[in-house]
């Protein structure tokens, strides 16, 4: 029998910086097929039967962790949840030792979120399992980047040539970095928008345009990806107050009047309603925020499926 084969040879998904445009497109296309599974009566396929997946979240998460759990379950894998607060990491065990102990129980895929950039890369050196980065510090959050790009492609039918603004705390955002890598590789123009304290000039080296004035770039945008203002950084003096941030950069319906009629609004969550986005925009007709969550499931199924097929 003659079968169509694709070239997917990566055992790990660490970041979009490592991937080629073709590889990103392969994940997006595969995710498109997986989206259908979630519309069935029986939302489960046997592709990963017998595989064991560990959710190793050493930093808080609701969306991503739940999404990976459901994705693994829909592929018939067994999933074990591991959270740092109830683990031996609080007893002082190193990440490497914890991970190796977990692997000794027969784990095939480790999904890791960690505050330290590069933690997933470290695991690839000490474990045989497939490693998926679910967010490492301010470095990358590849599946979030992929689901944002998937949602944009689904809505706009293309990526090449689009003008996409990533608005907010670019400096501390792994979502921004993954978006920038992925979108520029697929031919979109990315504009980083926010207060100058939160956009280092080095981002220009990634092929990004920088703007400190949302109103100036707004009329030409096809997509606005709004980042969460990280409240925990409020007292670091990077911007004067959330109220001022909302006034200067917050996306509200008044401001949107100057945007294209079909502008697409994305937000990776969790939302600070009234700060970076107003409730009427978050729940309005331009917003695809909940569709992002639905698409995230399909994208994570695709990633689990692809990496697990590599020897």
């Amino acid at each position: 029998m003659i079968k169509t084969k694709i070239k997917w040879s990566r055992k790990h998904l660490l970041g979009l910086a490592d991937l080629s445009a073709t590889e990103i497109t392969t994940i997006l296309d595969t995710a498109g097929s997986f989206k259908e599974v979630s519309t069935r009566n029986i939302k489960k396929v046997p592709a990963l039967r017998g595989k064991v997946v560990v959710n190793m979240f050493v930093e808080p998460s609701t969306r991503t962790k739940t999404s990976f759990s459901l994705a693994a379950k829909r592929l018939s894998a067994d999933i074990v949840d591991f959270s740092s607060s109830s683990s031996s990491l609080v007893k002082g065990e190193s990440l490497k030792d914890t991970a190796r102990n977990i692997e000794a129980m027969g784990v095939d895929i480790v999904i890791i979120r960690h505050r330290a950039p590069g933690a997933p890369h470290l695991l690839t050196k000490v474990l045989d399992a497939c490693i998926i980065n679910a967010g490492d510090g301010a470095h990358e959050h590849p599946t979030q980047g992929l689901l944002d790009i998937f949602t944009i492609r689904e809505k706009k039918k293309k990526i090449k040539g689009l003008k996409v603004a990533v608005v907010g705390d670019i400096l501390h955002s792994r979502v921004a970095r993954s978006n920038i890598w992925g979108l520029t590789k697929l031919g979109a123009q990315v504009i980083a928008v926010g207060p100058s304290t939160l956009i280092p000039d080095e981002f220009k080296e990634l092929g990004v345009k920088i703007s400190y004035n949302i109103d100036e770039v707004l009329p030409e945008l096809d997509v606005i990806n709004i980042l969460r203002i990280q409240m925990e950084r409020q007292n670091t003096n990077l911007f004067p107050s959330t109220r001022e941030y909302a006034r200067i950069f917050g996306i509200n319906s008044e401001r949107l009047k100057k945007a294209k009629k079909d502008v697409l609004i994305l937000h990776p969550g969790p939302i600070n309603r009234g700060v970076e986005i107003t409730p009427e925009v978050a729940d309005g007709k331009h917003s695809a925020i909940l569709e992002q969550v639905t698409n995230g499931l399909a994208v994570r199924m695709a990633v689990l499926y692809l990496v697990s097929g590599v020897k």
């Binding site: 084969k5 097929s33 599974v37 029986i42 020897k311």
Partner: protein, 184 residues
């Protein structure tokens, strides 16, 4: 491209599809005297089962004066050899937008060989609902079954060796209607 001999011509393929449609209808009428075509549904298996199912649909629609629903399956996620094939096959997606419950499903594929594809397809179909029956129609049965699976409707049975290749070409996917038997 494989070297070998041509087994079926465009004309023969056309005739076989008409014969398949005829047998499907008469068999289902036999078991159900009130059959109007409305209880039938076609499911093509990716990839060449889909154009074959479309052609059967056209033939059956004409004969029954009804509109028989059509869907398709990509059995990739149900394969029993995901562990061993190394490369991950492309997932092309499944599309079944009608309720299977109480339908007489005609599962369509180009070649019946080991029977493993059909086993996967049966598993996947059951996840969509509980059909009244599932029947199998294939253009070519080449033997060498590895599972207890047989077709209900066969266009042409061909004697083959296990290592030979049956290459079905269809206009929709390959630009021409032909079936070849050859070696790798």
């Amino acid at each position: 491209m494989i070297k070998g001999k041509k087994i079926l011509s465009p004309g023969q393929i056309k005739t076989l599809i008409q014969q398949l449609a005829h047998s499907i209808l008469s068999q289902n009428k036999k078991s159900n005297s009130t059959l109007t075509g409305t209880s039938l549904a076609l499911i093509g298996i990716h990839k060449r089962g889909i154009p074959l199912a479309r052609r059967l649909q056209t033939a059956l629609n004409q004969k029954t004066k009804t509109d028989i629903p059509l869907g398709w399956l990509d059995i990739t996620l149900y394969r029993d050899d995901l562990e061993t094939i190394g490369h991950v096959p492309v997932v092309k997606g499944t599309k079944i937008e009608f309720d299977l419950t109480d339908k007489n499903i005609i599962l369509v594929d180009d070649v019946l060989f080991t029977g493993r594809t059909i086993r996967s397809a049966l598993d996947e179909l059951i996840d969509f609902g509980r059909p009244r029956s599932i029947q199998l129609a294939v253009l070519v049965d080449r033997g060498h079954r590895e599972l207890p699976i047989q077709a209900d409707y066969i266009g042409q049975t061909i004697e083959t060796k296990n290592n030979e290749i049956v290459d079905v070409k269809l206009t929709e996917t390959d630009g021409v209607d032909e079936v070849w038997l050859g070696k790798k």
